[in-house]
Symmetry: D2
Subunit: 157 residues, 4 copies
Amino acid sequence: MDEPKAAPEWRISQWFNTTEPLTIETLRGRAIVACAFQMLCPGCVDKAIPQMKAVHELFGKQNVTVVGLHTVFEHHEAMTPTSLKAFIHEYRITFPVGVDASGDDSHPAPQTMRLYQMRGTPTIFLIDKKGLLQGQIFGHISDLQLGAEIMALIKED
Amino acid sequence: MDEPKAAPEWRISQWFNTTEPLTIETLRGRAIVACAFQMLCPGCVDKAIPQMKAVHELFGKQNVTVVGLHTVFEHHEAMTPTSLKAFIHEYRITFPVGVDASGDDSHPAPQTMRLYQMRGTPTIFLIDKKGLLQGQIFGHISDLQLGAEIMALIKED
Amino acid sequence: MDEPKAAPEWRISQWFNTTEPLTIETLRGRAIVACAFQMLCPGCVDKAIPQMKAVHELFGKQNVTVVGLHTVFEHHEAMTPTSLKAFIHEYRITFPVGVDASGDDSHPAPQTMRLYQMRGTPTIFLIDKKGLLQGQIFGHISDLQLGAEIMALIKED
Amino acid sequence: MDEPKAAPEWRISQWFNTTEPLTIETLRGRAIVACAFQMLCPGCVDKAIPQMKAVHELFGKQNVTVVGLHTVFEHHEAMTPTSLKAFIHEYRITFPVGVDASGDDSHPAPQTMRLYQMRGTPTIFLIDKKGLLQGQIFGHISDLQLGAEIMALIKED
């Protein structure tokens, strides 16, 4: 990613764990770690969600916002907002989670998934204080590397 | 459990991964390892389900039947059979899974849960070749101990 | 191993954690789980030793004896009995550990290693109550399977 | 640590994995992650050494030097340089490791241990490009936090 571009605004139909909708615009000045996941994706549940919880706990008070994006592109009827709500409760997720807005017949993938050209879940996004997309990782990133990437966002002028 | 008693028949409203309903009666002569779980119970997803998959792989050809029981006693609307079907697919569960039959207004817990006086999920059941309930473990049992318990069932006359 | 054979007596130059030397002969009537290891073998330290400690804790009171064999076939000067003694202390090993007797110029491998035709460390041995060698596993065996193998030894007449 | 102070020079009697002795002075301009360990300390072997290997692999080409310090304060006869050499080989450690110089009768702790007032092993040291000791952690630090701390050293002017 030679020239980081502005991170597109998420398209969210419903938020959990926040009274106000979050936007990249209003988070300007804070580093953002976002994670697109599906509640029935084993790699998300096993690795990405625990990692995001740890990031939230460690960096949440250091000018870093953690955001979950529930980006459902399969088994839609099994991963409704009702099910997601129970998942958030049972897995004790306390950071904000937005439901990626549904696609339509011509573009069935969720809208944010399409905007970011995601390849699947989990996908982790690193967005700097200016709203630039500094990184987009499909799959797994080690804690050691993620910690370093987040500090790079924090230290950036 | 000084005097093992006959394991009560499960009360199942729907089966997955089997064309025929399973009963303790018809499994007579085989050892049974059953696991009551909920698809949104972290301890089930993290430990009990992988353990049951390993048991199925290791002992499935040695006269041992593994059975999952989807015993939903909370967040019912989030863990419907539709969601369970996707869960089974995503977590690559190949052993039979039965949906514990719903309770009613006077006894809201699922029927099998009530019959076995389960305290929650996960609960693992060890049933011998004669249909006797030799063990009922709420929570976690180590692989080392579970392997031993299963072999005790296999070796029993 | 179609016809299990008598387990050869270990050749031990020094014992730790026992006042009396152990022999397969005098352990007749008990199941034996022995583990040949090297204190600087990562696979031994990481997996086999913790597994043997768990076996000792779970089955030690059920007619099962756990024995460690320090079978040094490389870096001899780095894994002397003096170093082994500190290793046993630091890793809180409480089961008996014997030092496999040194080879000689014509057969440099330790004597027990040679008798059992071991391929390396860790190697786990399952010896039944009659002193027959029922299993010899080079490398890793899962806890689930090991638990089952041990119970098979316990249940044997 | 409000006012970071200059990291004292290590007192090393022997080096492994480097042809030249390393000093904090000559490493000026590079960030340093040092780890004091003992080869028979379970917490070092289980966590700190694998973590240092991961740091070396991830950051070794990014102006970060990883250094091991073998700081033996117990079981001296079991953890000689001869044993350490085999340990380094078996655990595939490729970063430089220095042997902390022995103390004397009046101060039996190794000299570097005494200079840094270490409480035990493992202890991890974060030294910035100017040679200032920015952090000294006794025990465990999560990968997430360590990654962040290292990036803070890298980003520092």
